[in-house]
Symmetry: C2
Subunit: 214 residues, 2 copies
């Protein structure tokens, strides 16, 4: 294990795939952290206190012992994976990790994660409900991009499991909760199984290293 | 100038802020490239030929002489900036660059760039027109995050102009074209001026290094 960190405080929300990304990587790296649960549905990330620390008002966000702070799930993945096998060393492969990070944040998450959120919270009024059909279509377009890419390879970048896989796994493996049927994506389903088979894998509902000793 | 590249082909669309990010950085780095204009409104990035090369069907995208390909604007910024003053060397600052990249792609671009696109193309039917008010509100929230951050600093990361500034400048400086009034954001307006004052700056409508010799 390369690199120790001062005690970390991870602001998190258990149902969040974005929070799960960081929780999963930290667990797989064997890095200890304190977890602070904030209910985004109740607005707990929009309090003046939280916004004073994290101006974008979102989890996951990390606070270090020395007061430094960092937010955005994929930036946190990169920060903790640097210097470990979870982030490739070659320049082109590193850029490819970022390529899939951007794809995930722009083309995948706003459709696949947002649909899951809206389906899970029918009580919430949200103008995006007028666009559910569009979100479902764009989410399937994102899944089709992943399916093509995985048709000829085991992992998103290079020949090993990396943070690119973690970033895309987080919401893909719960896409059915938003109404996505993955039956037509056999390469994605095989890849989901490979990710689940990695050492120290934890489920999205696991708070942290609970499964780390399996 | 560190690093030369084999001849690059940049697939681009002049009105695109995402394309502009890469065009601006390559020009500031003095890296030559061949530019291929594709009209996204006419669907020129959704042809079978283009999708065969770039499965996400978006510009900017880069093809190298040796056949390697890379897409997503911020991944391209990172790739070309690596090893230059445009990307900090310190681990935390690098993660902060990614933090602002993610913020730009998730909270800024989908509201500020998309509104500009919809306003610029009133002829296009788009279900997002039902959400213009929401987009305007979320775009202002993103601008407020930037304004607070820039209240006490000159640049987004560290003490120098970097690709974090390029990524956020691209659509902020044309936000008014989507109906955003920047009058209430004095720190952002001063930062826009600083970005424009950097050596070899080019305008979004410049094809490439046209202004590089200024």
């Amino acid at each position: 294990m390369k690199g120790r960190f001062p005690m970390l405080r991870l602001y998190d929300y258990l149902p969040s795939g974005n929070g799960y990304k960081v929780r999963l990587l930290l667990t797989q790296l064997g890095i200890e952290f304190e977890r602070v649960e904030l209910d985004i549905v109740k607005g707990e990330t929009r309090t003046p206190e939280f916004l004073g620390k994290f101006p974008n008002g979102r989890i996951p966000a990390v606070e270090f012992d020395d007061g430094r702070r960092l937010f955005e799930s994929n930036a946190l993945l990169w920060y903790f994976a640097e210097g470990t096998p979870f982030l490739p060393a070659a320049r082109m492969e590193r850029a490819e990790v970022l390529q899939w990070f951007c794809f995930e944040q722009y083309s995948h998450e706003p459709n696949i994660a947002s649909l899951r959120y809206l389906v899970s919270h029918p009580e919430l009024q949200d103008p995006r409900r007028a666009l559910l059909d569009r979100m479902l279509r764009l989410g399937h377009e994102a899944l089709a991009v992943m399916e093509r890419h995985l048709g000829s390879r085991e992992w998103f970048v290079g020949s090993h499991y990396s943070i690119a896989d973690i970033a895309l796994y987080a919401y893909t493996h719960v896409a059915h909760e938003g109404g996505y049927d993955l039956a037509g994506y056999p390469a994605i389903r095989r890849w989901l199984e490979r990710v689940r088979g990695e050492p120290r894998h934890i489920a999205i509902t696991d708070q942290c290293g609970a499964a780390a000793s399996r």
